[in-house]
């Protein structure tokens, strides 16, 4: 009785795109993709075991196909034909037919969709999936991600140092970053000017200025919002304590209760910025850059967040080798630059910056695609949480922003 109609189920994607979202067109893209959340309502079995992921017989050599699930609009698209040039080139070069599906709209939602199969030790029919750090960590920990054969991915040596040695995958044996982005401030320049007399937004003090009461939103992605709040309070989001988190929750609760924060959203904030209902937000860099010159984007001076979406091969994938070949291809600097030029997110591939000079020189100095060390030093990667911590913090966050 709680989900009466397919549209309502479908609407999940639209409303719960709380996690890293790509570009605003998703709002429409999400609608179609989510009937599957119904699957989330199935009974959760309990058969999964932590540890090494099961592998299936690799059919790659006989069956030249590859099933790839990625976020919408997260790869170069030829606007005229709707084709994906880099992917077409790969198919031609490798002789592999790629079924590229844009069906990851939200980490939690995607996981809910395939969870039962993973737990019951079934193939989820995908050879590459792209998941954000913390969700990738959860997959590795539960044995849902296979160890990569790095011999097939020599280009993985192009991974920039900043992305090497993450806590959930210290040697990058299971995952390779696809793109990264920042949790940052975004604002409507002229509206901000008339509200608080400044065209730029650099600190949370400004965001929480009473003149902006009811005109700001923060992200429903706990890590981005809480990371920025904790950094503002002087805690270290890469390594914080329960106390640090509670203090930030206090601040959040206070701002929610006072009506300062209008809404806590996924990427709905983009539309709200455009209509003028909202003047300033905590949002995602790539999304906000798309809005154009009337809008500003900046990392908070006390620090923003940095997240990464990672490619990984799910347990029992049938075309693991083909997946690894595709990963290798996308770690070629020229290919990486092609993708970055289109999606405007940070590329983790060494040499892409040099390659970009050929593709679009204007983007070479773009801090949102090729951040300097200084920029990166002002962005935190949220601490890796244990499942218990994750649940505890998510609950505290949700009860602060709702009910």
């Amino acid at each position: 009785m709680t989900m009466q109609r397919p549209e309502m189920i479908a609407a999940l994607a639209g409303t719960m795109r709380s996690s890293v979202s790509r570009r605003r067109l998703l709002q429409v893209a999400g609608i179609g993709s989510a009937a599957m959340v119904a699957a989330a309502c199935g009974a959760g079995g309990d058969s999964g075991t932590a540890g090494e992921a099961a592998s299936a017989e690799d059919l790659s050599d006989t069956d030249k196909t590859l099933n790839w699930s990625n976020w919408p609009l997260y790869i170069d698209i030829d606007d005229a034909t709707g084709s994906r040039p880099s992917l077409e080139a790969f198919q031609e070069q490798a002789g592999i037919a790629v079924t590229y599906t844009e069906d990851v709209n939200d980490n939690n939602e995607f996981f809910a969709k395939v969870r039962t199969q993973l737990e019951q030790g079934q193939d989820i029919g995908r050879d590459i999936v792209v998941l954000t750090d913390w969700m990738a960590a959860l997959w590795i920990e539960n044995g849902y991600a296979q160890k990569l054969n790095l011999e097939l991915i020599p280009n993985s040596a192009n991974l920039l140092p900043a992305w090497q040695g993450v806590s959930f995958d210290p040697n990058r044996e299971y995952t390779l970053p696809w793109q990264s982005g920042f949790g940052a401030f975004g604002w409507n320049k002229s509206a901000l000017q008339s509200a608080i007399g400044s065209e730029t937004l650099s600190s949370l003090d400004q965001l929480f200025d009473p003149a902006l009461k009811g005109r700001i939103t923060v992200l429903s992605e706990m890590r981005d919002t809480m990371g920025i709040l904790m950094a503002y309070q002087g805690a270290d989001p890469t390594n914080f304590t329960d106390d640090d988190f509670s203090k930030a929750i206090e601040l959040l609760t206070q701002q929610v209760d006072s009506g300062q924060i209008r809404q806590v959203t996924g990427n709905d904030y983009i539309a709200a910025l455009e209509t003028g209902d909202v003047i300033a937000v905590i949002g995602w860099s790539g999304d906000m850059i798309q809005l154009g010159e009337d809008f500003g984007v900046a990392l908070p001076e006390t620090g923003g967040t940095l997240w990464t979406d990672n490619m990984l091969v799910p347990a029992l994938a049938q075309h693991k080798k083909n997946g690894e070949l595709a990963m290798n291809y996308y770690y070629d600097p020229v290919v990486a630059a092609t993708v970055a030029a289109y999606v405007q997110y940070i590329t983790p591939v060494k040499g892409a910056k040099e390659a970009m000079a050929e593709i679009d020189p204007a983007l070479v100095e773009n801090q949102w695609i090729f951040p300097s060390d200084e920029t990166l030093s002002n962005a935190y990667v949220f601490m890796t949480l244990t499942p218990e911590q994750n649940e505890k913090y998510e609950r505290e966050f949700q009860s602060a922003i709702g009910n």
Partner: protein, 298 residues
């Protein structure tokens, strides 16, 4: 649900024929029953079992078979305000929908003449667009810079200075989205009323108001009951309107269920909440039908 009553035991018919026709009746029932079993009964039982699951010790986010009835009390303790709010929002939306739909249905049934079909199509037409898109459209309509909000603000009628992302917007969205479910049953009931009864009331010196009170309204009650149920029940469980049009303080119980399912992956709590919601609605509906005394009306 669909209840096909087998037309057995037709008096006077020879026994063998009656028997065969009753068997045919049951045979005809089969698809319906199979449908119910597969898509309602089995999920229902699964959901119930899920609602009693207990966590696997030492494995966060994993649940196993159990008889953890405390899932229910915990869920209620945490989310009872959301049940109340859902009841309130859905109740107001239902009353508003009734107030809007009744005159409209009355007009279509008695006054629309040759425009009747067209008007009915117009009532249903918005449903051709996705529920979600229609709700998004309300974000634009109620936008702070929009016509409605600025007009009301100029008259100082809005305490919060805005409509969007308040409870008002959520109730408005619920009312709008479920309005056709109110209009259609009302129309069906009103349309069946014999206009000569109303004329007769007039002939007997009843004022138009008395005629409405004594004739039209009682005869339209089945439509009122059906319409209010069809509006209230889905509105009570809705979460889209609250998510898109509401703010942090406007979450409904549907939002809590969704967050527990997707965000926390806490299936037992989400299932328990779903069950409480279902049980609550059932009780409300039974009480309502009893009180309305409409069992014989429907």
């Amino acid at each position: 649900m669909v209840a096909v009553v087998p037309t057995s035991g037709v008096s006077g018919a020879p026994a063998p024929v009656a028997q065969r026709s009753s068997r045919t009746g049951y045979l005809l029932l089969f698809p319906g029953i199979a449908w119910l079993a597969v898509f309602f009964a089995i999920p229902f039982v699964t959901l119930f079992l899920t609602s009693l699951q207990q966590p696997v010790p030492g494995k966060s986010g994993r649940y196993m078979f159990g008889l953890q009835f405390s899932n229910y009390s915990d869920a209620l303790a945490e989310y009872w305000p959301l049940f109340l709010r859902s009841f309130l929002y859905a109740g107001i939306a239902t009353l508003l929908a009734l107030a809007i739909a009744y005159p409209l249905a009355y007009f279509i049934a008695f006054r629309a003449g040759r425009w009747r079909s067209l008007m009915l199509v117009l009532v249903i037409a918005p449903s051709f667009a996705s529920f979600l898109l229609r709700t998004y459209a309300w974000k634009t309509i109620l936008s702070d810079e929009g016509f409605i909000t600025s007009t009301l603000n100029a008259l100082h009628l809005l305490p919060e200075g805005r409509i969007l992302n308040t409870g008002i917007a959520v109730v408005a969205g619920l009312t709008y989205n479920f309005l056709p479910f109110m209009i259609l049953p009302l129309y069906a009931a009103l349309e069946k009323i014999d206009p000569r009864l109303i004329e007769a009331a007039g002939d007997l010196y009843a004022s138009p108001i008395t005629a409405f009170r004594k004739v039209t309204w009682p005869l339209s009650l089945p439509g009122v009951v059906a319409g209010t149920l069809l509006t209230f029940i889905p509105a009570m469980g809705d979460y889209i309107n609250a998510a898109l049009l509401g703010s942090t303080g406007n979450r409904m119980i549907g939002n809590a269920i969704q967050i527990n399912f997707i965000q926390f992956r806490d299936y037992p709590t989400a299932s328990a909440l779903s069950f409480v919601l279902m049980a609550g609605i059932l009780v409300l509906v039974f009480t309502y039908i009893r009180r309305a005394g409409t069992e014989d009306l429907v």
